[in-house]
């Protein structure tokens, strides 16, 4: 198994120190660099909003930290999948957008951006570990407003 430790020698991630805390529980074998992977993510209307590209463990401090994936960014394979999932979360929780985002954005992830896993067949979700000093806000642009405030 390729562990977080061995990955860190090749190219560290942005949150490498936090990822290292999980060590043997962090299986990164399925995470790869992609030449050009079109990806979708929930964001707020201003693409430079500081919440847009923070992993869940960094944004929600009270979440139990039990696996390294909490230091990755959630992405979706298609705009429909990203929108459907955001609508699913917001259905019974009218103010959930304040925590999740209001728009979908698209960007192309490249080798220099980090490593990501294959998308889930069920909902198209995948995790993406960023390399340091990457500015995804500059690579992503708004696709659609999903939640009208």
């Amino acid at each position: 198994m390729l562990s977080a430790d061995s990955i860190s020698y090749a190219q560290p991630f942005k949150y490498q120190a936090q990822i290292d805390e999980f060590k043997e529980k962090c299986d990164l074998n399925e995470f790869h660099e992609y030449e050009a992977r079109t990806s979708y993510r929930w964001v707020y209307e201003d693409i430079n909003d500081e919440r847009n590209f923070l992993p869940v463990y960094a944004r929600f401090n009270d979440r139990p930290k039990s696996q390294c994936a909490g230091w990755a960014l959630s992405m979706y394979k298609t705009p429909e999948q990203a929108k459907e999932r955001l609508e699913y979360f917001s259905k019974d929780k009218p103010k959930a957008y304040l925590r999740l985002g209001t728009h979908t954005a698209v960007g192309v992830l490249e080798r220099a951006d980090g490593r990501s896993e294959p998308a889930s067949e069920k909902d198209g979700h995948f995790n993406h570990f960023e390399y340091p000093d990457q500015n995804l806000a500059a690579k992503f642009e708004i696709v659609e407003c999903v939640v009208v405030i």
Partner: protein
């Protein structure tokens, strides 16, 4: 969506608990699992945020590994999982930047319907911290509680809701053996608790005559149908049950309601303030039967694992009644005061009246003793002992700490003479319009 207004801090009914992991979802922590000191799962559900995102609103509830497993495996939906909370007890918190702002305990009857999650089925693949959750609560097939699995199989074969009274430890308890008198007392006290909870369902919280009890005989009695050596486990089922659709449009059973009453009592009575607030949900008969059930376990020095399983819904309720816990529950019940009021209408004949004190005896199947209400004291002298009367009686039943029998106070608030055809022909000139004087006395 309404914003449940929570004012003031409430006692957290679930005691201390530690985080286990995130159940749902990878993108946002909406359902989080904790473990309490007894090893039971505590679930935290994120409702939504309010006040322009400043406050997050959550509720907590206790469940068990059986129901947790059903939810994760997609056998019951999210809403059903929440509704199957142990004791139907929910604890709410409004949190502002990790600081608890206000909190409140609440019960199913008060639960805002819009706070229930959707009827969504999930699968193990969606569980975020799946390894931590499965290993902590022994959900892997080879780690499951062998006795629980055995009881579920037996209940399924029997096709009946089943109680398991697993007497784990104590003097007179061995592997597959138990002292006869201890066994007898546990069974009799459980049956009495079941019967009184059943009477609450079928007759109401007032007194129930022998005739009314006889009418519902098969629904208010239980029978032993299996014993397991483990130390000693006895399986009990209701003799019969009624099925119906409840107000939420869901299938329900009379015996399921009875089980819910019993487990509500157990969960609520672990906290003195909560059972004090909720005691009026139960008749004094139920409280007294429960008191005796708990007292017997406490004084016998046994530890009892108590569960109920419905093989159709596959929902389980369970509670561990250790000596320490029953001591605490008994203390809470002993300090309980509760008064319930009911209005009775009876037809019969007066047996005796004391014109000085207003004390009367009225025969209507059974003798009812009490006092004429003050406004009726003058005209009560016109009452005779030959004619039949219809009387209206206000009954206050007060649970007295330390007493096995409640105090019953009857106040006659109106009477009507009956003709031979059965119609009311002559009424008391002044039917009491104000609350009966016994209500005023007790304030």
């Amino acid at each position: 969506m309404s914003d449940l207004q929570i004012r003031g801090r409430a006692i957290n009914p679930f005691g201390d608990y530690q985080a286990v992991g995130l159940l749902l979802y990878a993108e946002y922590p909406s359902t989080t699992l904790f473990i309490d000191n007894e090893g039971q799962p505590i679930v935290r559900e994120w409702i939504d945020c309010y006040d322009n995102g400043r406050i997050d609103k959550y509720f907590y509830f206790k469940t068990n590994s059986n129901n947790l497993n059903l939810f994760i495996e997609g056998e019951i939906n999210h809403r059903a999982f929440v509704k199957a909370a142990e004791g139907r007890l929910y604890y709410f918190e409004d949190i502002n930047s990790k600081e608890i702002v206000v909190s409140s305990s609440i019960f199913t009857s008060d639960f805002p319907v819009e706070y229930y999650p959707g009827e969504v089925f999930i699968s193990p693949e969606e569980v975020v911290d799946v390894d931590e959750i499965y290993s902590t609560f022994r959900l892997y097939a080879d780690e499951k509680n062998i006795l629980d699995e055995q009881v579920k199989n037996i209940a399924t074969d029997e096709g009946s809701e089943t109680y398991n009274l697993h007497i784990r430890e104590g003097h007179g308890v061995g592997y597959g053996k138990i002292k006869t008198d201890l066994y007898g007392r546990i069974l009799v006290n459980f049956d009495s608790l079941f019967q009184e909870a059943a009477i609450d369902q079928f007759v109401g919280k007032g007194t129930a005559s022998k005739k009314e009890r006889a009418k519902h005989d098969k629904y208010i009695n239980t029978e032993v149908f299996y014993n397991i050596a483990a130390s000693y486990s006895v399986l009990i089922k209701p003799i019969d049950r009624l099925s119906f659709i409840n107000s939420d449009g869901e299938e329900d059973t009379s015996s399921g309601r009875i089980a819910q009453t019993i487990f509500n009592l157990i969960n609520q009575s672990t906290t003195g303030k909560i059972i004090n607030d909720r005691a009026s949900d139960y008749s004094p008969r139920v409280i007294n039967a429960y008191r005796t059930f708990i007292q017997n376990i406490k004084e016998s020095g046994i530890d009892l694992d108590f569960s109920w399983y419905n093989p159709e819904s596959r929902i389980m309720h369970s509670a561990s009644l250790t000596h320490e816990k029953t001591t605490s529950i008994f203390s809470n019940i002993e300090s309980l005061t509760s008064t319930t009021e009911e209005q009775l209408s009876k037809i019969g004949k007066f047996e005796h009246i004391n014109c000085t004190t207003g004390y009367f005896g009225f025969l209507s199947g059974e003798i009812i003793n009490g006092y004429f209400d003050l406004p009726l004291r003058e005209q009560m002298r016109q009452v005779n002992f030959v004619d039949a009367y219809e009387v209206k009686i206000s009954r206050l039943t007060t649970l007295i700490p330390g007493k096995t029998e409640p105090r019953i106070e009857n106040t006659l608030t109106a009477y009507f003479k009956r003709s031979t055809s059965g119609e009311a022909t002559q009424s008391s000139e002044q039917e009491s319009k104000t609350p009966p004087s016994n209500v005023r006395r007790l304030g």
